[in-house]
């Protein structure tokens, strides 16, 4: 028991050990303070301009969400679970809510209006994330256009979401049984106007991606992941679809009335950073279409099943998964009938995509490290949990 507490030199060596680099090589610590790495570092072994080894050193923002979940009740868990995901808070909390509803035996009871509102919020968050992704990846290529466009257009979406939820980043809007509050008066008009505006912006983004030679040069052929590797490494989301795998939980195992909406799953065969960027771009178009369809289907009615008193999950287990913006988010919850879960296993798309970091960086050039790294849809805070 507690085998890893003994002072095991092999384990304690870890990745912090500053051993000498091999002859003719240089060890470079890429991060954690460097703005191009995020809240993590990558230990690169470089030979001239070529990366020979890349060890991701993560955990700088680990907060023990899984342990905290065991100490708080099912409702108190909602805000702190979605705190790490400033880009996709609805997508992060969605599977938790579905799993809790399974434990409360109320999967079938959630009102239709609440389900469509959830779809709208999840897709808004997907677009918020994709514009953010577009900006961040652009700035680390050295282009200032994407970050100004991406952050600017993302803000219109945030305004729409904030008008419904009262918060700009972490909404805490989904609750077991529905959503927290009903949509405010005039929400649908605002939503559809924003969709029209974003639709009009798409040609500009398309031109940047397809016609700007510098963007093409920096993205094409960088960080290639083969289809077989993507599946074997367990990758998720746009990273998986960028390698030609047509996998999307919204279609595979439809939840929250996604099966009543029409949309496509964009995929690309190339598996490089450009393919992943294009998948994100196509997904924004699909999300706009989903939001419009869901807004049309909104009918007046209740938005949640009222829960009275302290809720207790039935003894058992639930595994729920949804398609978050950065990949499949899944929650496995074990309940022993108490007011708080017995065990919660969180798995976000970001932590799945971390597995691809090392193979993608090895063999590339140092200048391509930020591009390959950020194209992977890896967000350190959501990955560390």
């Amino acid at each position: 028991m507690s085998a890893n507490t003994e002072s095991n030199p092999e384990m304690l060596a870890g990745v912090f050990q500053q051993e000498e680099a091999p002859e003719g090589r240089l060890k470079v610590s890429f991060g954690p303070q460097h703005p191009g790495s995020g809240h993590m570092r990558i230990i690169l072994t470089v030979n001239g301009d070529i990366v020979e080894d890349a060890v991701p050193d993560v955990g700088y923002v680990h907060r023990g969400v899984e342990k905290m979940c065991e100490y708080k009740n099912y409702i108190q868990n909602i805000p702190h679970i979605e705190r790490p995901a400033i880009h996709d808070s609805s997508g992060t909390i969605f599977p938790y809510i579905l799993a809790v509803e399974r434990l409360l035996d109320m999967t079938e009871k959630v009102p239709e209006r609440a389900q469509y509102i959830r779809v709208i919020m999840a897709e808004l968050n997907r677009m918020i994330n994709h514009f953010y992704f577009f900006g961040i990846l652009g700035i680390f290529m050295g282009h200032t256009t994407p970050i100004t466009w991406g952050m600017g257009d993302r803000d219109y979406l945030i305004d729409v979401a904030a008008s419904a939820t009262g918060a700009r980043v972490t909404f805490s809007y989904f609750v077991p049984g529905g959503v927290r509050t009903d949509l405010p008066y005039g929400f649908e008009d605002k939503l559809l106007k924003t969709c029209d505006y974003l639709e009009s912006r798409i040609p500009a983004y398309k031109a940047y991606l397809e016609e700007n030679p510098f963007a093409r040069m920096r993205l094409t052929g960088v960080g290639v992941i083969k289809r077989s590797d993507a599946v074997a490494l367990g990758l998720a989301g746009p990273t998986l679809r960028g390698s030609g795998v047509k996998s999307d939980v919204r279609k595979d195992e439809p939840y929250s009335l996604y099966d009543t909406l029409e949309f496509n799953i964009p995929t690309r065969e190339e598996g490089d950073a450009m393919a992943r960027m294009m998948v994100h771009f196509e997904e924004v178009k699909e999300s706009l279409s989903i939001v419009r369809q869901a807004a049309k289907k909104l009918r007046p009615g209740p938005v949640k099943v009222p829960l009275r008193g302290q809720i207790r999950g039935k003894v058992g287990e639930a595994y729920a998964r949804t398609e978050g913006a950065r990949g499949m988010n899944s929650y496995y919850i074990i309940s022993d009938g108490q007011i708080h879960p017995y065990r919660v296993r969180v798995n976000t798309g970001d932590s799945r995509n971390l597995a691809a970091m090392r193979p993608v960086l090895i063999g590339g050039k140092v200048a391509d490290v930020p591009v390959a790294h950020w194209s992977l849809d890896y967000w350190p805070v959501a990955s560390d949990r």
Binding site: S2, N4, T5, K67, G234, V245, S247, D252, Y332, A355
Partner: protein
């Protein structure tokens, strides 16, 4: 694939794993420890190629660890199905063979469970800390023996002591 159909298929291919349906699209297999690796290889050959989670749970009341491998698929016919391979081991000897040669994704998932619960995966070369600090010298944090409350209390006491000292110094 429909649950009953898949259940029948698994009963013929893996008869001694006592498969059962947890709820819709969630099947549970309970292989013996010796058969774990074979079971996983058979599942891969059936098309379950996407390892999604490994979850280890501590049960100090019964003195056991529960290992749960949650496996999905990207094949068209199996996309909605999830298989849970579950086995329970005594808390005193939580050692299982690695499944990294079946699903390479297991390397990182096993590493996470190793550091958080102190369980061992024989044959995994990467069993070192991923998220925890290198100088962590307490018991693995997701064990039920590790009390979050105690840590919070100790931190608060330490904080109070600092405040007391500062105020004491200010008075003089």
């Amino acid at each position: 694939m429909k649950d009953e159909e898949l259940l029948g298929l698994i009963q013929t291919k893996l008869p001694d794993t006592t498969p059962s349906i947890v709820y819709s699209h969630r099947l549970k297999l309970k292989p013996y420890l010796e058969k774990l690796h074979d079971t996983c290889s058979t599942l891969l050959s059936m098309g379950f190629d996407h390892l999604q989670t490994i979850c280890v749970t501590d049960y100090p009341q019964t003195g056991e660890f529960e290992f749960n491998y949650i496996i999905g698929s990207v094949q068209d016919s199996l996309k909605e199905n999830i298989i849970m391979v579950v086995l329970r081991l005594p808390r005193a000897r939580p050692i299982v063979p690695t499944v990294k040669d079946v699903w390479p994704a297991a390397v990182q998932l096993e590493r996470e469970e190793f550091e958080m619960l102190g369980v061992r995966f024989e044959g995994n070369p990467e069993l070192k800390f991923l998220y925890l600090p290198e100088d962590w010298n307490e018991i693995p944090p997701l064990l039920k023996d590790y009390k979050l409350k105690r840590w919070v209390d100790e931190e608060r006491d330490r904080h109070d002591l600092v405040i007391e000292r500062v105020e004491h110094e200010r008075e003089h």
